[in-house]
Symmetry: C2
């Protein structure tokens, strides 16, 4: 791991955003090994080789670092989901692929080697701002797909758009939220397809 | 709490099923106060005033007592759900009331004062036989309602019955399984109605 000099001069040292990225990268690695909830900023400072005060210059709390990691993680899921949606022009198929990609991406990030699960669980339990914003973006994606499907006559138009999107979000939620997903691991193989089919039946004109 | 003589004669003492019920009642109370997972059969024996050997005459393990308590609890939920289904003749309304009753009954049993949550969570995590049988009965109830709704022309007939019932079960699962329900407490007010509406849209002929 690269460590900067302990007293980087403000002029010659790395830019702030570089130091921030470096702290986040090191913290991600540390949390992955030792968990988020049991680690203190002191532990983190020791492990990165920075002083605690230096870390506090860039992040006001452990949660601020956690939020950054969480945001990176959710952005990765979002990128996968958007790519899946963009991979077809047919709105019904967009919905199927969105559900499948969301589950696969969440499983990979939260459960492969329990990587990042601890931080995701804390974020979901405490309903961090990053998590709430992510949920809103997922709902917005659903609304977009519904709108496209209504325009292409694939979906019915009677149900208020917002009501339909919220209900579909509730169907997907157990496979997006890591707290619920951990108790649904037996279902991640079949449930996305079965639930997508049910949702598509609910949307038929 | 009633305690029998410590050496009940096989002829004059209480019948076996009475002693079993007495152990289950005392254990329910004990688990409610101290939790299921941390209690041993020794703790239980001490608290009931029986010898450990006497308890083992009636139950082969702590889990055997737990299974009985869990079965009682699930039977209570099932009774509520069946009553809700029987309270209307219209299949779509049966489905709505079934979902609502299942959530309300589960919330009352598992979360009011966290009563019995500990034992329900253990049962769900370890997938006890009582839990698996309960899930099958819920799926059978769903199939019954679907059959009735197909006969009355309220529901479509294209989707294989089993496929439709399984998918609806998956929609209800996060509100029936205590492990998932604990993370859905913010949604128990609105989600059952929103999801019932989505499910009914999926069933429209």
């Amino acid at each position: 791991m690269n460590t900067p000099s302990t007293n980087p001069g403000p002029a010659r040292g790395p830019a702030d955003h570089e130091v921030r990225d470096q702290i986040v990268a090191a913290a991600t690695e540390h949390f992955r090994l030792y968990g988020y909830s049991k680690t203190t900023v002191s532990d983190l400072a020791k492990s990165i080789g920075f002083s605690k005060a230096y870390i506090y210059k860039f992040f006001e709390s452990k949660q601020a670092i956690g939020e950054r990691i969480c945001a990176n993680c959710l952005r990765e899921i979002e990128t996968d989901v958007r790519a899946a949606i963009a991979s077809t022009n047919r709105p019904p198929e967009k919905l199927r692929r969105m559900f499948k990609a969301a589950v696969e991406s969440s499983l990979r990030l939260f459960f492969e080697d329990r990587r990042l699960y601890d931080i995701a669980a804390t974020a979901a339990t405490e309903r961090w701002a990053t998590v709430r914003a992510f949920e809103e973006r997922i709902k917005a994606m659903l609304q977009d797909i519904l709108r496209q499907g209504r325009d292409s006559d694939d979906f019915e138009r009677k149900t208020p758009l917002d009501e339909a999107a919220t209900a579909i979000y509730l169907v997907m939620r157990p496979y997006l939220n890591p707290l619920l997903l951990q108790h649904s691991l037996d279902h991640t193989e079949d449930a996305p397809a079965q639930l997508s089919s049910l949702v598509l039946r609910s949307l038929s004109p």
